[in-house]
């Protein structure tokens, strides 16, 4: 049982939760995630460990309430308990000193990006951070990221904050200017965003690292449900990742597999038609 210490809504449907988990707080490194199961009968879902406080024995999760499990988790009040949290899982980010790094976050992916960006900045990289959202209220962690970024750029689809458009707009400018051209790009967000960023950086030959979010169960390499194809090879995102070279990822397969359980009913009907 893991006690919820605090729970605040930092943007619509986006919660920052601080939870008592002393063993994980001590072991965790940037880039790692935990598997959370709210209560008996509930699903196990992966969530990035956004931050930790080993002294207090707490970890921070930033959760976007997109569906059944995440909605139930963010409804947990301070003083209440989460039944199971297992972690830290996944390979820690390979924090290298690249020089100039651009970090790109989209939607809740910004929460996953946050610990990476912090780790990269602490290692001495010069960070430009680009975060995008549908509109102003969906742009999250701007101030937190600004605290250690040389420059922070927000983009919104409706122009209500920062630049109107997508994260790829400012990224292109940075790539084109020799003075700002990054040595590496980290991108975390919806699959189409990571794909667009990777496609954009490829011709520039800029190393691009993405953090993948397939459906997971155990997070320990036991089920193979999280498999993704990277560079033509099958990898288990939970143990071989979640970070991979963005230029090698089969995004179409990843996107398709993520939607599997939304499409289930339809799938059965199609087989009927095929066999008829």
């Amino acid at each position: 049982m893991f006690k919820v210490i605090s729970n605040e809504e930092i943007a619509p449907q986006l919660h920052r939760m601080v939870i008592e988990a002393p063993r994980i707080a001590k072991a965790r490194k940037p880039g790692q995630f935990a598997i959370v199961r709210l209560k008996p009968g509930a699903e196990r879902i992966p969530l990035t460990i956004a931050d930790d406080d080993p002294e207090a024995g707490t970890i921070t999760l930033i959760i976007q309430a997109v569906g059944y499990s995440t909605k139930e988790i963010v409804a947990t009040q301070p003083g209440e308990f989460i039944q199971n949290i297992a972690g830290p899982l996944g390979k820690p980010t390979d924090i290298e000193v690249w020089g100039k790094v651009v970090c790109v976050g989209g939607g809740a992916g910004t929460a996953v990006l946050f610990p990476l960006a912090k780790g990269l900045a602490q290692a001495g990289n010069e960070l430009t951070t680009i975060i995008g959202g549908r509109s102003e209220k969906y742009v999250i962690l701007f101030d937190e990221l600004s605290a250690f970024s040389k420059q922070t750029i927000a983009t919104t689809e409706d122009g209500s904050l920062g630049e109107k458009g997508f994260v790829t707009g400012p990224l292109k400018r940075l790539l084109d200017d020799p003075a700002t051209k990054p040595d590496a790009v980290y991108a975390v967000g919806p699959v189409p965003m990571m794909r667009a960023v990777s496609d954009m950086t490829r011709p520039y030959g800029v190393k691009t690292i993405v953090s993948l979010n397939p459906i997971m169960i155990d997070g320990t390499g036991m089920c193979g449900g999280c498999r993704v194809t990277v560079g033509g090879k099958v990898q288990f995102a939970c143990v071989d990742g979640p970070e991979f070279d963005g230029h090698d990822v089969d995004y179409a397969e990843l996107a398709a597999r993520q939607n599997a359980y939304q499409e289930l009913d339809e799938h059965g009907c199609r087989l009927d038609a095929a066999l008829a």
Partner: protein
């Protein structure tokens, strides 16, 4: 009771196991075998000839005192039988259900040479179930040694070791990666073959013995083995072989293609079959093809049937006689209407335009010369490819060692498959660290894992003799 003559014994026919009706049970998850009534069990036990050479005992990996427990049962003394059984076997309710008896105890039974063997497995199950109902579990021994022993993994290997260590007076803590106990007994073997209340009961018994169980601890991630070694006087590693093997054919990442581990975990551990609206989903195929011929494949295909498949199909490279699954499972599967496509090998998994599996492409095989294992090797028949329509495919080829724990411990010596090297006392290359079960043997059996757990517990007590506990027990 009156002596029964050998002639009379020989005249008794092997008992039948009452079973749920095949059609009915193929649509529910309740246990298939209903268990023997007392009179039938006693009568079956009377078939044992109490052979001098005791071949059955040699056939059992942990040398259960079979004729002795059968003799008690034949006398109607179930409690006496239970006492004998529990000395050799910590989880008889489990092994009685899942041991491949036809290759082990029953395979060697003298009565099987000319006719049918004594139903040792069913009797073991009977005695264990009776004991669970009627006998109080052991309490922690009064004399505690003050040593603290960590057990990694709560599968049959870890549970057995934990029980033995607690009975020896050590303070035991089990670390389990998942949110629940039992290992394969819970997430792999389905309810209809091994009801989860049996695992629950065993875990409860361990708690009565003072064993502490901490779930959600992934050794190698949450804690390292080195950290555990600093705190505990000895460690038993029984983290199983939890890495699924895939076919490596095109189309394996299509939606609707599962490893058996994922399929069974969704169904069993996560309760996808219970129709709980907040639970974990599973693709309930109408036509499900399962690759493989072992217990894992049988469990998957029979689960598919119970999840509502009209056609649940086994696709296996060899013939029926070569299937490694327990014979009883193959028989039950046939009765339940499972279809068998034998001597076929998968070439490809075919998908529709949306990325869902729609068929598997198979190639027919012939049995050629025997290979190193003595089984006749399947050889592909040219031009025999065909498609089999399906909407779910399950790959049940087996598992290998998961490197999560071992990768963090360079001093722990492994074999070329990544299994931990352990000697006949279950000692590893690190003093005070013992290992057993599937992580040492590769995918093996429940009873072998239990045997290792028991052996390791003895070795650990031996190892601790004359040592001083690292952390004297704090007054609670």
């Amino acid at each position: 009771m009156a002596e029964i003559s050998v002639k009379e014994k020989m005249a008794i026919e092997r008992t039948k196991m009452p079973e749920q009706d095949a059609l009915e049970r193929s649509r529910n998850f309740k246990e298939v075998n209903l268990g023997l009534p007392l009179e039938w069990a006693v009568r079956e036990a009377q078939r044992c000839l109490a052979c001098k050479k005791r071949p059955c005992v040699d056939g059992c990996p942990v040398n259960v005192h079979i004729p002795e427990f059968l003799a008690k049962l034949a006398d109607g003394d179930v409690a006496g039988a239970a006492q004998i059984l529990r000395v050799d076997n910590a989880l008889p309710a489990t092994t009685g259900r899942v041991c491949p008896q036809e290759y082990q105890c029953e395979g060697q039974c003298l009565r099987g040479k000319k006719g049918q063997s004594v139903a040792i497995g069913w009797l073991e199950r009977f005695v264990a179930d009776w004991a669970a109902q009627n006998l109080a579990p052991d309490k922690a021994p009064a004399a505690q040694t003050g040593f603290r022993v960590a057990v990694i993994g709560s599968g049959p290997g870890g549970l057995t070791a934990a029980g033995e260590l607690a009975r020896a007076g050590h303070k035991v803590r089990v670390f389990e990666a998942l949110h629940d106990t039992g290992g394969v007994l819970r997430y792999g073997i389905p309810e209809f073959r091994l009801p989860k209340r049996i695992v629950d009961q065993e875990v409860q018994n361990l708690r009565e013995l003072g064993v502490e169980i901490e779930t959600d601890v992934i050794v190698g991630r949450t804690l390292t083995l080195s950290e555990i070694r600093e705190e505990y006087d000895a460690v038993f590693v029984a983290n199983g072989a939890g890495l699924p093997m895939f076919l490596h054919v095109p189309g394996e990442n299509l939606k609707g293609v599962y490893s058996a581990n994922e399929y069974l975990t969704r169904a069993n551990l996560m309760g996808a079959w219970m129709d709980d609206p907040c639970g974990t989903p599973i693709a309930r195929g109408k036509r499900v093809v399962v690759f493989g011929g072992g217990n894992v494949a049988m469990d998957s295909v029979r689960t598919a049937k119970r999840l509502g498949a009209d056609a649940a199909i086994i696709a296996y490279r060899r013939g029926k006689d070569e299937m490694p699954a327990r014979k009883e499972e193959v028989k039950h599967a046939e009765e339940e209407g499972i279809e068998f496509h034998l001597l076929v090998a998968p070439l490809e998994i075919l998908g529709d335009e949306k990325g869902w599996v729609r068929a598997v492409k198979l190639q027919k095989m012939e049995l050629g010369e025997p290979d190193a294992s003595g089984r006749r090797r399947p050889v592909a028949v040219e031009g025999s490819e065909f498609e089999l329509a399906c909407d779910v495919a399950v790959v049940a080829l087996g598992t290998t060692a998961n490197p999560l724990l071992t990768a963090a411990e360079p001093d722990l010596k492994l074999d070329k498959w990544g299994n931990i090297l352990a000697d006949e006392n279950q000692s590893t290359s690190i003093p005070g660290v013992f290992a057993g079960g599937d992580i040492v043997r590769g995918g093996a059996t429940v009873i072998l894992a239990m045997g290792d757990g028991k052996c390791a517990a003895q070795s650990i007590s031996e190892f601790l003799k004359g040592k001083t506990p690292k952390a004297p027990e704090k007054a609670a």
